[in-house]
């Protein structure tokens, strides 16, 4: 049973199709461009499809010259380490805040909540000097350290998950003689897997796309994909059709994530609203 009239259904489709066109119009010329030869690019309109859709020259050139393979590798290493630390620490903090009462708990909670007020861009003046002093500029460790903090949104996602895990499980484990650490690591943490997945996907997309931090701290040999793309793009000598190909390459991992994990992206982001 539905109260959706034929008119409403038609209007809905028209609106959604217009919205999809709105998404694709800026994207299409980029895709066209990646398959065009240099001469073709300068001679044709940006909205004209390429003559040869199998022209892979730009892609192989981009991979070779832009050091994109290396940048991908660094991005993967940075993301894996930071996300592992971030998720573990967030789960630990959430577990303590959810299951234990102790002196200063409110202070801890407030301190994590207040980070919402602190924009990352407004803290780097001093952090940059600290990183410089300990010699971590231009190493991936500066970025990994900055990415390893525990955020309040993550804590909320984990707290929601802990609400659904019965305290009786902890108590039973303790009665059986398990210590605090064992109870968390072997029993509770595995049960928090859905919240961890959500966090990894949402934060993973954020970190993969981050530009500000890696651009500030990584410069020469060590680069994330976003920065490598920027360096590539910033050097005027790079032909634009090559840049377009590099960008298409950069979109592939994110599109794979998106096809397989779309459900989590929607649920995860929607879930973080409920806080």
């Amino acid at each position: 049973m539905s109260n959706e009239t034929k008119l409403y259904k038609t209007v809905r489709y028209i609106f959604l199709i217009c919205a999809s066109i709105f998404v694709f119009v800026p994207l299409v010329p980029l895709i066209f461009m990646a398959f065009k030869t240099g001469a073709e690019y300068s001679a044709t309109s940006v909205l004209e499809p390429p003559k040869n859709w199998l022209n892979m020259y730009n892609f192989s050139y981009a991979m070779r010259v832009g050091h994109l393979g290396k940048a991908f590798l660094y991005t993967a290493v940075i993301l894996t380490i930071s996300l592992a630390i971030q998720v573990t620490f967030t789960a630990m903090v959430a577990y303590i805040l959810h299951r234990f009462d102790f002196m200063g708990k409110t202070v801890v909670k407030v301190m994590f909540t207040l980070t919402m007020f602190i924009p990352v861009v407004a803290t780097q003046t001093l952090i940059f000097r600290m990183m410089y002093a300990v010699g971590l500029i231009n190493t991936m460790w500066s970025v990994i350290i900055l990415y390893s903090g525990v955020g309040i949104v993550g804590i909320y996602v984990m707290l929601n998950q802990l609400d659904s895990i019965s305290r009786e499980i902890d108590e039973a484990a303790m009665i059986d003689g398990a210590g605090y650490f064992y109870t968390f690591a072997k029993i509770i943490f595995p049960l928090m897997k859905p919240a961890c997945t959500t966090m990894i996907i949402i934060n993973g997309i954020g970190l993969y796309n981050d530009f500000y931090i890696p651009n500030l701290y990584l410069n020469r040999d060590v680069q994330t994909f976003t920065v490598a793309l920027y360096k590539f793009y910033g050097s005027m000598s790079t032909p634009f059709e090559i840049v377009a190909a590099a960008i298409i390459i950069g979109m592939i991992p994110i599109m794979i994530v998106f096809i397989f994990l779309q459900k989590y992206i929607y649920n995860g982001l929607a879930g973080s609203v409920k806080m």
């Binding site: 109260n3 007020f117 861009v121 407004a122």
Partner: protein, 283 residues
């Protein structure tokens, strides 16, 4: 004995995240307040110069313009939010092609600043898609040099935010709509409510809070604009923003001035987020 082990466990689990929090959030913010009163160059002696950095920020028209540029980014967030809200309302239901549309509409949200900047350079270039399409439509008089014209460049690049960020707003609205119990809709249908009445009296009141959060996110996002004007224009042609200025001051060793700008950005975000917490709690 047990309570000792319990305390040890609590401390052990909190200590590293707390140290990280203090070093990378609290120390820099407090440090900024101090540094903003100096002309430190990142090395050597620290000389206090009072409020001179702030004076420079508020009297130099170039710097004032950077804060004004943020206004464009806030302005475009209005159509952006309306568009996102409409999308969330119409997509909230069951119909053929739902997942395809959900997939398409999330694409811009997944792309990074460098990709989006390149896409829109192609879009706004003199021979780019926008001018080409205007030509096809016979609207040659509307063709402009979007990125060179000093009056058009800021609204042009600010409007990119609509394409880039509507997806995030849309997902948040959509998530809020999903929390409405389906019984409510079923009851409304049984009572003979039209779709329009249903949207007006059930869906919209439910998203009021999320709408408010999104408006404040737009304000605090506008003051922190960095990537698109930095990557596309390098802040030239009068497209600078406070965060671009922070970046440039840092790279030219004007640490004191960068700190003063950071304090300004922090204070504005503080006011906005504080306002949000206050008003949402009252609800």
């Amino acid at each position: 004995m047990k309570s000792k082990r319990r305390s040890l466990f609590i401390v052990l689990f909190l200590v590293f995240p707390m140290i990280h929090l203090i070093i990378f959030s609290y120390v820099p913010i407090i440090g900024n307040f101090v540094l903003s009163l100096t002309n430190w160059r990142g090395f050597g002696d620290i000389n206090f110069i009072g409020l001179r950095n702030y004076e420079k920020m508020f009297t130099n028209t170039e710097y004032i313009k950077m804060f004004k540029n943020c206004g464009w980014y806030f302005l475009v967030s209005i159509p952006q939010l309306i568009f996102a809200l409409l999308l969330a309302v119409v997509i909230n239901g069951k119909f053929r092609g739902l997942n395809v549309f959900k997939g398409i509409l999330i694409i811009p949200y997944l792309l990074n600043g460098v990709i989006i900047s390149t896409i829109f350079i192609i879009f706004f270039n003199n021979t780019g898609s926008l001018n080409t399409i205007l030509g096809w439509l016979g609207l040659d008089s509307l063709q402009h040099q979007w990125l060179q014209d000093l009056n058009l460049v800021n609204p042009s690049i600010a409007s990119i935010s609509i394409w880039r960020y509507y997806g995030m707003n849309f997902i948040m609205f959509f998530g809020a709509l999903q929390t409405i119990p389906t019984e409510l809709y079923e009851a409304a249908t049984l009572d003979g409510c039209s779709k329009w009445q249903e949207i007006r009296y059930i869906s919209l009141p439910f998203i009021k809070k999320v709408l408010f959060i999104n408006i404040l996110l737009s304000v605090s996002g506008s003051i922190q604009v960095f990537e698109i004007p930095y990557i596309m224009m390098n802040g030239s042609n009068g497209t600078g923003t406070p965060v671009i200025m922070i970046q440039q001051s840092m790279s030219t060793n004007k640490v004191g001035f960068a700190a003063a700008l950071s304090v300004m950005v922090f204070v504005i975000v503080l006011i906005v987020v504080g306002l949000q917490r206050l008003l949402v709690k009252e609800d």
